[in-house]
Amino acid sequence: MAGAAIAAAGGSAPGDRVEWRLAAPLGLTYLVFFAAPFAILLGISFYADAEQTRLGLDSWTKFYGDAFYLKVIFDTLKLGLFAVAATTLLAYPLALVFRASGPKLQRLLIFIILMPLLTSVVIRTFAWIVILAREGVVNQTLMGLGLTAAPLNLLQTELGLVIALTQIEMPLMLLPLLTIMNQMDQNLVDASRALGASKWRTFFKVVLPLTLPGWIAGATLVFASATTAFISQSVIGGARLVYLPALIWQQSTVVYNWPFAAVASLTLLFTVLAGIMALGWLGRFAKTN
């Protein structure tokens, strides 16, 4: 195993070429079922008016010429970043505990990690209302402990929304992270400790770089999912916080301004994709260093 690894490091990277034949089935499926609708969306965005009678860039200029909509883009991306940061902060410790646990505890932990996925988004939002509301679990606990006199406003705030998204998105971060964490070579960790490195140093110098691909996969899914989580955003976040998905919903189903909705959708797609590609770039950058 070790010998093979050395041999591989010495040799050239195998197959630095996309194997198109393997990518073709998914590619063709996407061509029919995704690229065509996507092209329609792109086409619609170049209508100037809601009735789709005139061509023009009006929808684009209206969206990008308005500071409010730019702020909505910014807020949406910020929400995604907060969700990634919060899930990272909690997922790594959980993954470390998972790795250190025996098989029985591991199975229990997996079950706990899967739990949020098993409660549908519909009922999950209700649970978060119960927890975060004025007379909710958190406020009653805090007031019972005498930590606060008046109930805190948690529901319909960005903080409340990030907390709720953290629960919902955590499995998306943890599942890829755990699979990578389990593939990690324990010898490297032991070696680092044996050489006298502190646990902190071992984590940042050995564990973190080795598990980075898992984190990137997780962060990608969390970022994509948090920025597009329409139901959680609108029910837990409330109407005081406007994010792109709510805007797209309003424009496409309430006022039927499909060109404008298309612009907002494509904006969401391209900005989030840019964010994800930045993550991937970060990963390769970290690897080469």
Partner: protein, 342 residues
């Protein structure tokens, strides 16, 4: 399950692209596909209207559960290939659909029950099947004295317990218009209410999607909201502490209407469906718990759980002209977004 046939099984598991390109018609001969609101409406129409239609006309009906705005979006997107035969809509979406030319004209002569419905409720393109009455709902345990009018909602102690919704629903839009009037505004001049909303947003207990309101109310996050009598009666019937109060300027009423989708396959069956829905027998059944729908058939004697006494009372309530509202609604929504966002 009958909905998953063996053909579906084979097709689904087989070559996917091919399978999905087979135009599988969902319509049985002698059938009808009608859109219906999810929730109570679907239960009511499945439980009451469908069996009656089967019995009287031998028509099998399938329901597609969709909210009004989604119905219109779906038919617009599927132009020329209508996904269902009948709409059920509130005035806002109905006006948009009318403008977009999504309705077949209605021939009232084909409806045997047409004469039993008050004048004006069957139009050239729609048949009213239910009336909605909108006012203020409050928690009697928290507020022994309810707010009297729309303006009170913006005063202490009510505003701190208020759940606000915007212009995305019909009941939300008409309520805010009435609030505007209470502060000296009108459909043409919404400035006064936007000024009040801006102040209220910081104080209100919640500003949320309409779908979230019952949950927020039940968990005590809000104790006052504006909604229709139907919602209040349903929640009250399930033991929730909730009461309806008519604002001093009068309750608002609007109609829920059935329409035939342009290019629908089963037009004749659609007439039979609409005729059944407005018949006295069905209308009388739909007003009972747990459905609580306000009847529009003059032969129906109203039950006392509905917060209104007679069909005639509806004619004295506040109504709105949606052909005036729809052109300015997009701008209101945009302004609501901008002014209430932090």
């Amino acid at each position: 399950m009958t909905t998953i046939s063996r053909r579906d099984l084979l097709a689904g598991a087989g070559a996917l692209g091919l399978a999905a390109s087979l135009p599988l018609s969902a319509r049985a001969a002698g059938g009808l596909t009608a859109a219906i609101y999810p929730g109570t409406w679907e239960e009511a129409y499945r439980g009451v209207v469908a069996p009656a239609l089967k019995k009287s006309a031998n028509v099998d009906i399938a329901f597609d559960s969709l909210f009004a705005v989604d119905q219109v979006a779906k038919v617009r997107a599927a132009r020329g290939v209508p996904p269902f035969d009948c709409f059920v809509l509130d005035p806002g979406p109905a006006a948009s659909a009318m403008q977009a030319g999504l309705f077949e004209p209605i021939d009232a002569k084909k409806l045997t029950n047409a004469a039993k419905v008050p004048d004006g409720l069957i139009t050239s393109h729609g048949v009213t099947c239910n009336a909605q009455v909108v006012g203020i709902a409050y928690n009697p345990k928290k507020f022994p004295t309810p707010p009297k009018g729309w303006a009170d909602l913006f005063k202490s102690p009510y505003v701190e317990r208020l759940g606000l919704t915007g212009f995305q629903t019909t009941f939300g839009t008409v309520s805010i218009i009435e609030m505007a009037k209470a502060f000296g505004g009108s459909i043409e001049n919404m400035e006064p209410i936007f000024a009040e909303l801006k102040k209220a947003v910081a104080k209100a207990a919640a500003v949320a999607a309409p779908a979230a309101m019952p949950g927020l109310y039940q968990q005590g996050q809000i104790d006052i909201m504006y909604t229709n009598t139907n919602t209040v009666a349903i929640l009250k019937g399930r033991g929730v502490d909730i009461e309806f109060v008519k604002p001093d300027s009068g309750a608002i009423t609007f109609q829920t209407t059935l329409h035939i989708v342009k290019g629908a396959d089963n037009v004749e069956n659609a007439y039979k469906y609409m005729d059944t829905a407005i018949s006295a027998e069905i209308q009388a059944a739909l007003q009972q718990q747990p459905y609580n729908m306000i009847p529009i058939n003059k032969d129906v004697k109203l039950v006392d759980t509905l917060d209104i006494k007679s069909v005639d009372e509806l004619t004295k309530m506040v109504t709105h002209d949606w052909t005036k509202i729809n052109p300015v609604r997009a701008a209101w929504i945009e302004r609501f977004n901008k002014e209430i966002t932090k």
